[in-house]
Amino acid sequence: MQEEKQSNSLTRQILQSISNAGLVPFLAILTAVVLGGIIIAFVGGNPFLAYRGLIEGSFGSTKALSETAVWATPYIFAGLAVALAFKGGLFNIGAEGQLAVGAVFSALIGYALPEWLGVDLPTIIHLPLAILVGMLMGGLWAGIVGWLKAYTGGHEVINTIMMNYIALNTTSFLLNGIMKDRSPTNVIARTPLIADSARMPAIFDGLRVHWGFILALLVAFFIWWLLNKTTLGFEIRTVGLNPDAAQYAGINVKRTIILTMILSGALAGLAGAIEVTGLNYRHELGFSIGYGYDAIAIALLGKSHPLGIVLAAFLFAAMRNGATRMQFLTQMPVDLISMIQALILLFVAADAIIRYIYRIKAKGERVVLTRGWGG
């Protein structure tokens, strides 16, 4: 009798904690969707038709589902990148640039390596190499910021943003110059197509969803394991919560900061590499505009938890993917989605607003996500 009661209360506790974690994000999404509907009605559209289009376009058919998964893949990687940095007390606004750098170098290995070596490489070597180099370059790109943070105190927020612009300028330079696709009909800044041996196969014939999606789910699990079950993960979280305490406990804070940024950047670089090897088979200028900011929203919406991020990435992917259908049905521009996503982010970040509207009491302590300029 006693035991039954206990297990009962334990189940209830677990359910309680899940609903606690999910309640505010859910209400935030709901509020943003309602507000979005009001905006649609205000500019002369039919909100119900618009949302029907959004759902049909993202989940209405096998093809739609596959496309949603295609969109979700980079979102999961990039969302994990931002979340991992958050866990380490760092705000990585630079996923955009790290992703672009990863994509450029992954494409370079993809199209140029067989040429340099003079032999055709087997997929088993070429594909992992292309992905790894993209990851590595993304990690290096972010690692610079981590090093600056650890050794000079240069704030990572501004530095990652500066690195975004540097990445954008440099890739523009490369894609318009030495890395430009030289085929006679091409006028766009893009690389040549990568070799067949560097391409990731599709999971199902006739659908675009590729193995990168499965990899994204595996990596999400890996990050959960890394953060919660390993010493490095413990160190990252401790430095994130309180660097002074971490220092006192004997953790090498500088090293951990740099490692966190490298891992975060590697995840973003992976997003770029997977887009190149699994989907586009080349890097084109401007394909990634906005991934970095979406990633921040996804990390916040998913409360920096890998499972939450996978769910949030799906939501954002569904919205992006369904937007075309919505535009077709209601002539609402695709940019509307950015508006609704910004509203979701607003309400998730400012959960105090949501708590105020729905009269939910705050539980636990305030989580400090970032720190000021003082370093």
């Binding site: 600056l148 300028n169 330079f173 940019d335 970040a349």
Partner: protein, 370 residues
């Protein structure tokens, strides 16, 4: 502001100017190059200067504002849009439309910063996250309205962007007229005076920004308002104890900051060019934060730092003018993607603190809890 930092600023500016003089002297006399570089530097530094002032007011009061970029972008859009509505729908004369456009831009900046103030002061949201929200919201809002209002179904503009009322005019400061008698009959002297005159012939927002720098400096360090602002940013509890309303002071300063950011937005679409394109601020809001930090949270220091960034941009512009006379060994200066990196790399270099450590206000970014 210590001499080391001023020295660094002067050095960078001198280097950038010398490069342009070296390249351009085949085409124009050095004095003319220097003065026109100076004129361009002051003009293109305007949004950075105003953005940095915006940051100074917010952060001196203890609120970190990383949303300046988004405030500028939104203000640039609504200022421009307001001007177009006034000109094309209400058929107001161009000068009135332009003036009202500036007003709308400043108003938009104030409203966006009100949102930031509510998030960070009332709801105590993490201030860097709050600013990021503002930035993302700005991109979504301007992108959506830009498409919907002009190309959407039932658009009053019938699927095209109508012509705007134009841009703010250059104000002529009559230095040439005043000093022409001193020159007598010497033509070279007159040319030199005219060259110097170019530095002072600026458009209203650029001119206003320079005046606002000194005004802000005076207000922050010589008035009761400034003392109170700094007090709530350094030690809000102490300020509260002596009867200063911390919440009110913070709200007021964040909104003042927002108005500066709004004016910076107006620079893009009402003073510089009469058009809007998505993402046109291109990171200027973030660079102005770096200028604020390098200027050690003082208006004059932040302005000096903004001029460095302005000079690097002016160099790029001048390279286009001297395109035909660039010697081959300097031709890399035409690679806009590479030379365009200067402000970003400079920002990162400055943030390392090698050129002197800076100290933010003690309570910067910390919500006030009684």
């Amino acid at each position: 502001m210590d001499w080391k930092r001023f020295g660094f600023i002067a050095l960078i500016i001198i280097v950038l100017f010398s490069v342009v003089v070296m390249v351009g002297q085949a085409k124009q006399p050095p004095l003319l190059i220097v003065t026109s570089m100076l004129a361009t530097t002051i003009a293109v530094a305007t949004p950075l200067t105003l953005g940095a002032l915006s940051g100074v007011f917010c952060e001196r009061a203890g609120v970190v504002n990383i949303g300046i970029e988004g405030m500028m972008l939104t203000a640039a859009f609504f200022g421009w849009l307001g001007g177009i509505y006034m000109f094309n729908i209400f058929h107001l004369p161009p000068s009135v439309s332009i003036g009202l456009g500036v007003f709308f831009a400043v108003l938009t900046g104030a409203l966006m910063s009100l949102l930031h103030a509510m998030l960070s002061i009332t709801f105590k949201v993490d201030q860097i996250i709050g600013g990021t929200v503002i930035n993302i919201l700005a991109v979504g809002l301007t992108g959506f309205l830009n498409r919907q209002l002009f190309f959407g179904a039932g658009s009053v503009f019938g699927g095209s962007v109508p012509s705007s009322a134009g841009v703010l005019p250059t104000i002529h400061i009559p230095i040439t007229e005043l000093f022409s008698s001193v020159c007598g009959t010497s033509a070279t002297c007159l040319q030199n005076v005219q060259a110097i005159n170019r530095v002072f012939d600026q458009k209203p927002i650029a001119m206003g920004a320079v005046l606002l720098v000194f005004l802000s400096h005076y207000i922050l360090f010589n008035t009761r308002w400034g003392l109170r602002t700094r007090a709530v940013g350094e030690h809000p509890k102490a300020a509260d104890t002596v009867g200063i309303n911390v919440i009110k002071m913070r709200y007021a300063n964040v909104i003042i900051g927002g108005m500066f950011a709004g004016l910076a937005g107006a620079y893009f679409t009402i003073e510089s060019v009469p058009s809007f394109e998505p993402l046109l601020t291109n990171g200027r809001g973030f660079i102005s934060l770096a200028a604020m930090i390098f200027g050690n949270w003082t208006p004059i220091g932040a302005w000096a730092a903004s001029l460095v960034f302005g000079a690097s941009q002016a160099l790029l512009i001048n390279m286009q003018i001297f395109r035909d006379v660039i010697p081959p060994q300097w031709s890399f200066l035409q690679e806009s993607y590479i030379v365009g990196l200067t402000p970003y790399i400079l920002t990162m270099f400055i943030l390392t603190g090698i050129i002197g450590k800076t100290t933010p206000p003690a309570a910067d970014g910390v919500p006030y809890e009684k």
